[in-house]
Symmetry: C2
Subunit: 563 residues, 2 copies
């Protein structure tokens, strides 16, 4: 199977493209002309440095170039595994810091459970193991010896943690028990891998909590989902839709799954962004996590009740969604709140004719600008590299997605200003501005906030424009083909949902050699039942969108092709 | 082999004792008398709660009770793997925060490399793979399919990372390259496992750097070692000896290994605390990590030079060394700097006769004390639990190792003081003190500093008292038997070192069913060649301590039985 997976061609991450030598930007120049880009737009500046294929022409190739040249990902010689380079790991650390602070307010405590799970425990919850069995990696050898009992590498830790919950929870006084871990998990997928989006190993946090009541558990599920939405919307500037998963799509073993669903405009596909599950009592029954009912005890009885459990997870996939959302034909565009470097200062106007004294004077002023920004908490670097032109440097930092560039040369010094250039705006005219050196400490943090907000607003507008509310089946597939996700009246029936997927798939044609090429032929699955429900569904009257379904609609359900 | 390991009896972590039900303190009471402690000291207070075996009588059983009842570790159903509970994980997080801040000053950047390593890469450096082959865990199955090529679970990441180094380092301008990762590694050991000290999976950081020159690499090795010593000495209050490993004991594939060596007074055994390796050019030659020599280039030549590499690691073992060093017969003793909770406030003097108003008044004052301490950065909690006596609470928090307890009752309120009780001092008289409520914000942080310093000073004094400088072979084994490590003149010969181990082992007798029981019969290995060398070795004259060795001594070498 691994072999089979290796043979599948995937333009997004072609197996034979890795581990390829990731050339330095400087060396790229010579190689450029080798690859004819037939019928593809010529990217401005591409001859100099950078990304040489347009996002709108070939998303797979574009993504690969952006993440490697932007130094987020480097390829690795185990299929489906990727190296998170410092720039992307720094984004993960900033997500981690923020989210960890939030959950501490709920008195969630971090812990660490082993990566290995015994087969016995893994298989205790039936639906759960059915959901994961196909993608569990097994350690069967230690040194040169076969293990008597193979151990599973955790795909998630419910079954690793809940025997512990059963030991620790002896009384209702031990509730709630709230644990979280930041760790790595492995899902040995045989689908097309794609860095960040679908990889065999990924990083995440997984929260696991136990409560006395369903209500308390439910409130936490929603609080966590709100914070997940904040991670995407406020930190990564990526819009999401909150909702509940249908029965077909919920977590294996959960009572219900809440989710935030993102959207990749370039393909028109939805993408699951993070999920917060109420597990109900499924696991507590299997793992025998019980307490005496305090109410029953007062009444002189001794009824045992099974605890109510939640689990919730947010992964490094979030970084991929951010890149796919904001990246453009010059490379990465990183939102200021999570960028490792928020501002890059590039000294300009230094030529062969510049005297050493003039250069020293200029660099002294540059250093002062740098230190001023640092003093107000801006993450700033200065590019003093010799032997590279300012133009080359601009492109280099743009490719890496640094939110704001400051240029400073003798002419700026004379006027007492710096020239700023926003990474998020496409045209030079819009992007450029001037700020008085004396105002920098106030103006730059404000400008970074503006960039952050504008990035979200634009992405949000685009996502809204591509959520089509549809009531007629005839509009369903054309809407998908127009790179939209669709909000439709649906009966919430599990089989009906399968039918919708089948009906919306195009089987007759299409290039099936790559996932992206296949995408237009892909059927739509339900993404979520959004919390925010438009009006228009009359119970018992409004028909389910599926022309073959006789049931009436229960709710507006978001469907789409998806990752 | 796994089976064989499972059959080995180990009192420290007996396989059949886990996953045992970890009883709550309250339920312990009834069970207490069941286990007769023949010839063992009766522990004061043991009848009430807590640890029921003395550290000096049975270290293995004592350790097991201390880590489980102190809620640092919970057992797990995969042999050699343990659950790090929130209290111990919090210590790890505080080590992490501190050390991460230090290495950032060297511009080390965090990244994440996959947990899986291909067999090809793992085997590229010969000595390295020889050192690790016996303990590598292999994933051979994904879902139900056999993998075509099994992948190794990282035991360390040199071979995972260095192909990346080879790609990224193209010019001397790309040097130094300094990466670090905080992750989990797996060494499928078949020796006796012991929580924190020797486990099949553990957490650590691993730094990997590449430099242009040997000197630069060497300076970093020493800087990191200094910080490792600070983690132990300043954070964990555990003394260490800095030195270099002998050829026999250095890291597989390294040029040289520097180390900090700790000491467990209860067994008189040494323990490797953390290591910082200069890998020299061994790996850069195998992985072809080269740059043009900038000096040769200026001279018109084009010589390639292999980069100089370091790797350095600090693990969760550090927490175990801390526990073994400071823990006493009442349980854990945690140094204030790393304690999740530094101060526990216990309201006292509330009886059945206390009026609700008086209680409310007292609790209001307690809350004020709590908030005052919080406002000056003290990590403080208050124990308001109903239904437990103050005495029970005292024991409970002592078992958990909270550095300082504050008692506050109506009598204290009248006098305007709080009663303090230090966890680190053995007698009640020494431990107790009074502090004016109005002084708390200044006095408590100072008192915590005093506790921290005193803990280190006591441990340091003890370690010094147990490092015996010896020149006569006849004193060697008796010194070991007296629970010492020994500093001896040695020739640094590899075979001679093996001989010393053999000669110092006692074969004729002893209980061999458990590691601790076997320890007195264990031979001594070299721990390190301390940087700090006493006088007394005359080159070419002073004889090596080994009576069968004809060579002269090169240095004072620290030998000892060890973990």
């Amino acid at each position: 199977m691994a072999e089979a997976a290796d043979k599948l061609k995937d333009l997004v991450v072609s197996e034979d493209q890795k581990p390829k030598k990731e050339k330095k930007p400087k060396e790229k120049k010579e190689k450029k002309e080798a690859k004819p880009q037939q019928q593809k737009k010529k990217i401005e500046g591409a001859a100099l440095i950078g990304i040489d294929v347009a996002k709108e022409d070939d998303l797979g190739e574009w993504y690969q170039q952006v993440i490697t040249k932007g130094q987020m990902i480097s390829y690795y010689d185990v299929a489906g595994c990727y190296i998170l380079e410092p720039a992307s790991y720094a984004i993960w650390e900033s997500i981690k810091d923020w989210f960890d602070t939030q959950i501490k307010t709920l008195k969630v405590r971090n812990a660490y459970f082993p990566i290995f799970i015994s087969a016995d425990n893994l298989q205790r919850e039936k639906e759960h193991i059915e959901g994961f069995a196909a993608e569990v990696a097994w350690v069967t050898k230690g040194g040169k010896s076969e293990l008597e009992k193979p151990v599973a590498v955790r795909p998630t830790s419910e079954t690793a943690m809940y025997p512990y919950f059963a030991r620790k929870i002896q009384s209702h006084r031990d509730l709630p028990l709230k644990l979280n871990q930041w760790n790595n998990v492995v899902r040995w997928e045989f689908k097309h891998p794609m860095p960040f989006i679908r990889s065999r190993e990924f990083l995440w946090q997984e929260g696991h909590t136990a409560h006395l009541t369903k209500e308390e558990a439910g409130a936490e599920v929603m609080q966590i989902l709100d914070w997940y939405a904040d991670v995407y919307q406020k930190l990564l500037a990526v819009p999401v839709v909150k909702g509940t998963k249908t029965e077909n799509e919920k977590f294996p073993g959960a009572d219900y799954t809440t989710t935030i669903e993102g959207f990749i405009p370039a393909t028109g596909r939805g993408i699951q962004a993070a999920t917060s599950h109420c597990l109900g009592q499924h696991f507590s029954k299997m793992f025998n996590i019980v307490v005496e009912d305090p109410a029953a005890k007062e009444a002189g009885k001794a009824d045992k009740i099974h605890v109510w459990q939640n689990s919730w997870g947010l992964t490094t996939r979030s970084i991929g969604v951010m890149i796919l959302t904001h990246g453009d034909n010059r490379g990465l565009v990183t939102p200021p709140r999570v960028a490792e470097i928020q501002v890059i200062i590039v000294p300009v106007g230094v030529t062969a004719k510049t005297t050493p004294e003039a250069k020293e004077d200029l660099y002294g002023k540059v250093k002062q600008i740098h230190d001023d920004l640092l003093s107000v908490g801006v993450r700033v670097e200065t590019d003093y590299r010799e032997g590279y032109s300012p133009g080359w440097k601009f492109n280099d930092w743009e490719m890496k997605g640094i939110p704001l560039r400051i240029e400073f040369g003798p002419k700026d010094a004379e006027k007492g200003v710096v020239t700023t250039s926003r990474r998020d705006l496409p045209s030079k005219e819009l992007a450029r501005g001037e700020t008085a050196v004396t105002d920098l400490k106030e103006a730059i943090p404000k400008l970074l906030d503006t960039i952050q907000n504008d990035m979200f607003e634009r992405a949000d507008k685009e996502y809204r424009a591509h959520r089509k509310q549809i009531t007629n089946w005839d509009d369903f597939v054309p809407a998908l083909n127009g790179k939209n996700v669709v909000l439709v009246p649906h009966c919430e029936g599990e089989k009906c949902e399968d039918q919708v997927k089948e009906l919306s798939a195009r089987k007759e044609e299409g290039d099936t050699t790559t996932e992206d090429a296949k995408a237009p032929a892909m059927g739509a699955k339900s993404l979520c039942i959004p919390f925010e429900q438009p009006e228009g569904i009359v119970k018992g009257e409004t028909k389910c969108i599926n022309p073959n379904c006789t049931a009436t609609a229960k709710a507006w359900v978001l469907f789409g092709r998806s990752y």
